[in-house]
């Protein structure tokens, strides 16, 4: 029982609340990216894993299930934050329904963790609010904060990137969802200047949006460079520019 054999969270067991973001294309794409990279993840053996903005708990639950299949229980410490208190209750229910555990924190990105958790996170996953919206919708109470990203959808992302850089361990990996409108190639260059290599793990186009799941890791991390097809920011840019003509307004379509 309790999820033995499951690779990802089961939608019927994912809890919900009117003010909590339900698993959507972006959530599925992020979990697919983790699945696609699962062999590397299992070799990576992350000890401390953090999800920022856990929403329904679909992603952190899937991650815990995925890693648990090979790594015995309590071998990794999972933390999940959200700015929406309902999201944390829902995530708690989703985790429990699958028989896995994570520590939950009501926080702005990783507030309260920045000092002591600095340099300790081996794996970070984020499906941020990325939809371009008017600035005043960013961080508003309730469901709007789940997608409202302000100008170019970058308001929250641009605060997550330095936090990730601070929290990630020297062998840490970050998987993040972006939209073409977020200018992912610029995000990769920005992270490149902080010493990170990047690669698109999953790319997905729906009627309304082009999603990318980008993996970031420190350039000096030979292991991950060797075990995954190395693609630095340059190649990411190349593959992204082909999508630029399709850029349009994504407001409310998230």
């Amino acid at each position: 029982m309790e999820g033995i054999g499951w690779k990802t969270a089961q939608i019927r067991l994912v809890s919900s609340h009117p003010e909590v973001y339900e698993p959507c294309d972006d959530s599925f794409a992020l979990v697919d990216a983790l699945l696609a990279d699962r062999t590397n993840l299992l070799l990576h053996r992350p000890a401390i894993c953090l999800e920022v903005g856990c929403g329904s708990g679909y992603v952190i639950t899937s991650l815990a299930l995925m890693l648990r299949r090979q790594i015995p229980s309590s071998a990794a410490y999972f933390l999940a934050t959200d700015i929406n208190p309902h999201a944390l209750s829902v995530t708690g229910e989703t985790l429990a329904a699958h028989g896995v555990e994570a520590e939950l924190l009501l926080a702005d990105i990783a507030s309260g963790l920045e000092d002591r958790l600095a340099g300790k996170v081996d794996l970070m996953v984020v499906n941020p609010p990325y939809v371009p919206t008017p600035e005043d919708e960013v961080g508003a109470p309730g469901i709007a904060a789940a997608w409202a990203g302000g100008e170019n959808g970058r308001r929250v992302i641009d605060r997550i990137l330095p936090a990730a850089d601070r929290l990630l361990s020297s062998r840490g990996w970050l998987y993040m969802v972006t939209l073409t409108a977020n200018d992912p190639s610029q995000i990769c260059r920005l992270m490149g200047r902080k010493g990170y290599a990047s690669r698109i793990v999953v790319q997905r186009s729906t009627e309304e949006e082009n999603l990318q799941i980008i993996k970031f890791w420190r350039d000096a991390d030979e292991e991950s460079a060797a075990s995954s097809p190395t693609t630095i920011a340059g190649r990411v840019i190349e593959s992204l520019t082909s999508h630029l003509p399709r850029l349009s307004s994504f407001r409310g379509t998230h």
Partner: protein, 122 residues
């Protein structure tokens, strides 16, 4: 909230210099058994502020941890068992985490600490 998480939290209120460790005010503490994983404990040991952990455990009624610890102690099963229990099995369900410098309380409800700051604290 486990004591492992307590060990990773500090008060980040603007102007606070020494926000760690947060003092615990406990209203409800529960214990949940989990499997002991020696590899995980060895791996996490170096990341723990030991004194904060042993003090926190003591404040919640578990006084079995020594005041100081070093790597070599991880060879002892007895020590591992106590470390495991303090770190992962004691949960603060209801109560508060108190900033050591300002006395500001971060509430803990249903095991979830509220680390959000008010506008004038950022």
């Amino acid at each position: 909230m486990r004591l492992l998480t307590h060990n990773m939290l500090s008060s980040n209120i603007k102007g606070v210099v020494n926000g760690f460790p947060l003092r615990i005010e406990a209203e409800k503490v529960i214990h949940k058994e989990v499997d002991l994983n020696p590899d995980f404990l060895r791996n996490i040991f170096s990341k723990i502020e030991w004194r904060a952990l042993s003090d926190a455990a003591r404040s919640l009624g578990y006084a079995e941890l020594p005041e100081e610890a070093e790597e070599s102690m991880l060879d002892s099963d007895e020590f591992l068992g106590k470390f495991h229990h303090a770190l992962l099995e004691i949960h603060l369900e209801e109560g508060a985490l108190v900033c050591p410098e300002t006395g500001r309380k971060f509430s803990v409800s249903k095991g979830i600490p509220n680390m959000l700051l008010h506008e004038d604290e950022v």
